[in-house]
């Protein structure tokens, strides 16, 4: 659940730290920034997954963390998660003239055409998170 993920709370310019429990009025105060607000629009439908492989380079790299929203309708050029051939995979959805293809961003990797194998939509990638210094 998105709300159970580690929260990265960055103090912005609150000068006071309140002890005790917030009153409803606190909603109108500036609060610490929470990356969940930025990354997760639909908590119940949002999943985190990790990229394995290099077919989406340079957009995505091996080990990138993806934020996937299952509640969104996939659109042209979206990065999508699909289940295909017993695997969960990340591809780019490309629609041209009513024809939908799932392609890789890096040359030399196979595309999946319509009716090729058993492909089911899983979710739309909304963000990628890359770690530079763990």
């Amino acid at each position: 659940m998105a709300s159970s993920f580690t929260k990265w709370e960055l103090p912005l310019y609150l000068s006071l730290v309140h002890a005790g429990f917030p009153s409803p009025a606190d909603d109108h105060l500036d609060r610490k920034l929470d990356l969940n607000d930025y990354l997760v629009r639909h908590p119940a439908a949002t999943f985190f997954v990790r990229v394995q492989g290099r077919s989406m380079f340079p957009t995505l790299r091996h080990g990138d963390l993806l934020v996937v929203d299952r509640s969104l309708e996939p659109g042209n050029r979206d990065l999508v998660i699909v289940s295909a051939g017993g695997e969960v995979a990340v591809k780019r959805l490309v629609s041209t003239g009513g024809r939908r293809m799932l392609v890789s961003d890096r040359d030399g990797y196979p595309a999946i055409g319509p009716g090729g194998e058993d492909v089911a939509h899983w979710g739309v990638v909304t963000h990628a998170i890359r770690t530079f210094k763990p």
Binding site: M1, S3, S4, F21, P22, S23, P24, D26, D27, H42, P43, A44, A45, F47, F48, V49, R50, V51, Q52, G53, R54, S55, M56, L60, H62, L65, L66, R70, S71, I81, S83, G86, E87, V88, A89, V90, S104, Y109, A120, W122
Partner: protein, 413 residues
């Protein structure tokens, strides 16, 4: 209109969301200790693997047919359950979470059910069956037909069809609220189906099944008698909840209530010799038109199945901190314990013998250690069915949604 939303083969469906290779093949999930079969895919049901059967009895069948076997992954099931319930809460005005995989919801119109089912499937990946009817009891009955007959996963008892025939097809033992003892009594009295029960004489019912039974009979007739917030106790879930006398906005009083419910739920567990693996806290406003409406849920997977009240209270408080958001007039809160399994006998004895003061000191020390070195570093031997069951989880899938180091991998190749 009331709908009962029931997740299909819930534990198996959770596994399938993250591992598409499991689709279309027989899958079973085992209880704690990998002892018994507690969930089956339709393919596994078709092979004749019975619910609740000890695993060793079907080992040959499993080998012969390549059945995929999993230890229960309560972290995953609890989280997926919460997602399903939150989705229902967003899509409908009123949700009553009934068990880990079932919820009653109120619909404005019965044709909303199909859309609701699509939305849960899209947002969470979990397929559901939805039964719709004018009362909870009929919605529950309709759900059975949704599973058995409807190809679209939705069955609306009020939409045409002959209700008489349907109820005649429903054994009285399968009517919601009719336990085994009552069912035997009814069969002996020549009332073997839901239709018989519906048409039974009120006086007879009141005499033999008391007022609760009469309520069920009226519900079968389409007269709502079981209010939305009330629920008969079900063995796979222990729920303690109550509506507040007055709407409450502040966390403090709600926390006291929730701690109390958790302690009550723990006592219930111990009375039945059970331990819980999943704890859920909920707070909800009521749906009154314009008033801001919100249901907050938080589900925790416990490090070990437990019935230990101080632990359950502590986890309930923790859960409430996450479920609560200020600015709403809450009218109800509750604690649900799920993933129930028989507790070790040692566990019960230790509760009785323990000195509360020493135990409190011990708990505080444990808390410090666990805060510093991570949850579950230290745990009571009293919780200690754990030692054995923790090891016998050989077939557990990754905790895809609750552990950073166990996230699902998506292939880029």
């Amino acid at each position: 209109m009331i709908a009962l939303v029931d997740c299909n083969n819930f534990y198996v469906s959770c596994e399938r969301v993250f591992d598409p290779r499991l689709c279309g093949v027989p899958v079973v999930v085992l209880s704690n200790n990998d002892g018994c079969v507690i969930a089956r895919s339709n393919e596994a049901k078709a092979l004749g693997i019975p619910m609740g059967t000890p695993f060793f009895k079907v080992r040959d069948l499993v080998r012969r047919h390549g059945v995929r076997v999993f230890s229960s992954n309560y972290a995953l099931y609890g989280d997926m359950s919460e997602r399903v319930m939150l989705t229902l809460g967003e899509a409908t005005p009123d949700v009553e979470v009934y068990s880990i995989d079932e919820a009653f919801v109120r619909l404005h119109a019965s044709d909303e059910a199909a859309g609701l089912r699509r939305r849960v499937l899209r947002d969470t990946g979990i397929p559901t069956s939805i039964g719709v009817g004018p009362t909870k009891t009929l919605a529950k009955a309709a759900n059975r037909f949704a599973k058995k007959r409807a190809t679209c996963g939705v069955f609306d008892l009020s939409a045409g069809g002959d209700v008489d025939d349907l109820l005649a097809d429903l054994p009285v033992a399968d009517v919601w609220g009719i336990g085994r003892r009552w069912a035997a009594k009814l069969c002996a009295a020549g009332l073997p189906t839901a239709r018989h029960l519906r048409d039974a004489d009120d006086q007879w019912v009141r005499r033999h099944l008391n007022v609760t039974g009469l309520r069920t009979v009226h519900e079968l007739r389409g007269i709502p008698c079981i209010p939305f917030e009330e629920m008969p106790v079900e063995r796979k879930t222990v729920t303690c909840s109550r509506s507040f006398g007055e709407p409450v906005e502040r966390l403090g009083p709600i926390r006291e209530a929730v701690a109390h419910y958790a302690a009550q739920a723990a006592a219930k567990l111990r009375r039945e010799g059970l331990a819980a693996a999943i704890l859920r806290v909920f707070v909800t406003t009521k749906y009154y038109g314009e008033e801001p409406h919100r249901t907050g849920l938080y589900t925790l997977t416990l490090p070990r199945p437990t019935a230990f009240a101080p632990d359950l209270v502590r986890y309930a408080k923790l859960g409430l901190e996450r479920a609560y958001r200020p600015g709403y007039a809450y009218r109800k809160a509750g604690v649900q314990l799920m993933g129930l399994s028989p507790a070790d006998r040692v566990q019960g004895n230790l509760f009785v013998a323990a000195d509360p003061r020493r135990q409190a000191r011990l708990m505080a020390m444990m808390d410090r250690v666990n805060r510093r070195f991570g949850r579950g570093t230290l745990f009571l031997a009293a919780e200690g069915t754990g030692r054995s069951w923790a090891m016998r989880q050989a077939r557990r899938s990754p905790r895809y949604t609750t552990r950073w180091d166990e996230l699902a991998l998506v292939r880029a190749a």
